[in-house]
């Protein structure tokens, strides 16, 4: 039996999100190993035209639920749509990004389909015709392999930034199939009545490729200005340690660590962060870690690739300037 992989594709400002392109690519690799096809699912308003684009990543079919009522996330409608798409696509694997949407929606889908789920995987492989999802637990203090041996679809969310996105050599012309219109009029018990946009347009910590993060030694909320300047130059998101959040220097949405966000950037620059076990857990899967701290004995220096011992108020402006010069070249 063909083992198809269905990828829930997310969009932002009329485009397919980069994290979804990564996942389509991984879905294509998995489907090939399993002897099935990659299929995609788009939900939203005005997303129909994006259906064809999934062909560049190897999708043979793209299911599209396009309606004004689907513009905003609605758990009841979206669950029904994903369940219908799984059935139509004969999906043995359902993949989504571990985003605000994926984390909220997929457990509900798994429960309705009476199947199991693996959360926030960082590696996927195939063994005995089943997907093995390797994932961090205890916020990254250790890892475990998760399999869903007896039920389908195997429902899996994956961390952003863990897969390479790559177009296939011979793009397909995916069959675009409209689904889900009947759910537009479905009565719902919960709905979004308003969306309050974020103050800045910076990338989210969980999706950012570069993060600059400050600890309590930043001393005030105003001093985050130097972090923002550095972030601006390298296109980074700004994070904070729990100590900085608890001191009121930064909101909780910026907290990196076991009781904040677990992040996975290419480059993590930790400024004035000593490296408490909970913080290290939340950022240890970063590809490259730079630490700046005035205390040469700080534990963070045991966990970094590059470290500078010194005062962050002196080092960060120098670093900003040096990056500016480099990126101008």
């Amino acid at each position: 039996m063909a083992a198809n992989a269905l990828v829930l594709v997310e969009t932002k400002s009329g485009k397919i999100k980069k994290t979804s392109l990564e996942l389509l690519s991984e879905g294509h690799r998995l489907a090939s190993k399993l002897g099935g096809h990659l299929k995609a699912l788009l939900i939203g308003e005005g997303v129909q035209s994006l259906g064809r684009e999934t062909g560049a990543y190897g999708a043979s079919e793209c299911y599209v639920a396009d309606h004004a009522e689907f513009k905003n996330y609605n758990v009841e409608r979206y669950t029904s749509i994903v369940v219908e798409a799984c059935e139509k696509a004969q999906a043995e694997v359902l993949l989504a990004t571990a985003s605000s949407l994926g984390r909220d929606l997929l457990p509900r889908v798994a429960a309705r389909l009476n199947t199991g789920m693996a959360t926030e995987c960082t590696t996927l492989s195939v063994k005995n015709h089943k997907v093995v999802g390797t994932r961090p637990i205890y916020a990254g203090k250790c890892f475990v392999d998760v399999t869903i041996p007896n039920t389908i679809p195997q429902v899996i969310t994956c961390r952003p930034n863990v897969f390479e996105s790559s177009k296939v050599k011979t793009p397909t012309e995916p069959k675009v199939i409209s689904i889900g219109s009947e759910y537009a009029s479905m009565p719902v018990k919960a709905k979004i009545v308003e969306i309050v946009a974020a103050k800045s347009e910076k990338p989210d910590l969980t999706e950012a490729e570069i993060i600059v993060s400050a600890g309590r030694s930043i001393k005030s909320a105003e001093n985050f200005k130097i972090m923002n300047e550095l972030a601006e130059v390298v296109g980074a998101a700004v994070g904070a340690s729990r100590a900085a959040v608890d001191a009121g220097y930064a909101p909780h949405s910026m907290q990196v660590g076991q009781t904040g966000k677990t992040v996975n950037p290419k480059l993590y620059i930790a400024c004035g962060i000593s490296g408490a076990i909970q913080h290290l857990a939340g950022m240890r899967t970063s590809k490259v870690i730079v630490a700046i701290n005035s205390d040469a004995e700080a534990p963070i220096f045991q966990k970094c690739d590059y470290g500078i011992v010194g005062d962050l108020f002196q080092i960060i402006p120098l670093l900003t300037e040096e990056f500016r010069k480099l990126l101008k070249e």
Partner: protein
Amino acid sequence: MKIGVCIKQVPDTATKIGVKEDHSGILEDNTKYIVSPYDEYALEEALRTKEKIGNSEVIVLSVGQKRTAEALRNALAMGCDKAIHINTEGQGFLDSHAIAKLLATKIQSESIVLVFTGRHAVDDDNCQVSQMLAEFLKCPHVTMVSKFALEGSKAKVERDVEGGAKEIWEVELPAVFAATKGLNEPRYASLKGIMQAKSKSLSDIPVTQTFAQDLTPKVLWSNYQMPAERKVGKIFKDEPAKAVKEVVRLLREEAKVI
């Protein structure tokens, strides 16, 4: 109104986690346990809601081994009215699906209409039980709740999403709400509360005897591993200006991340 709170006992976040030699699980000797931090926001919100609307009962539920009773006793000391311990002592691995089923059964039989949970438990980081529970209760859920207000039989809540944006949801009860940091400041149990807790009801219900559901896990966990250690990094101690130049050069030429 009957308000339910689901909590989980987890290793203290300051705990160093070790893996068993045969990779079959984590080492649990000498571990100190706490209530998962996000569940404390759930507890606090349940208690505040009761204080606001009056004429309510807060029931705290937990699925876990014998030791879980401590966590429930503490929740009673904080002000919950009664506790239900679905005791899994001696039971093998239970997955999120099974735990959500167990909780749903009790929540239904207690006629609870408003349920709070934490956004996820900080041990397994599964982030599944709240949503699965809502599905089994056939009611809506909202996760990442950072603001909650009850308006009659509806709740108006804020949900934190990517990049610092917020969604405002209107939800008809019954419903499940998963709390995140920022929702409130959890209280500590008072001495009076601790004394009162001793006479409150804590029912211990062994899983095996009481529940008819099939609890066979749908997921299997194996091959527990410690993360790969990073090789020792290059640390620069003198001449900040020079160090900065060198690190930026290495980031481009050696690490190739910029």
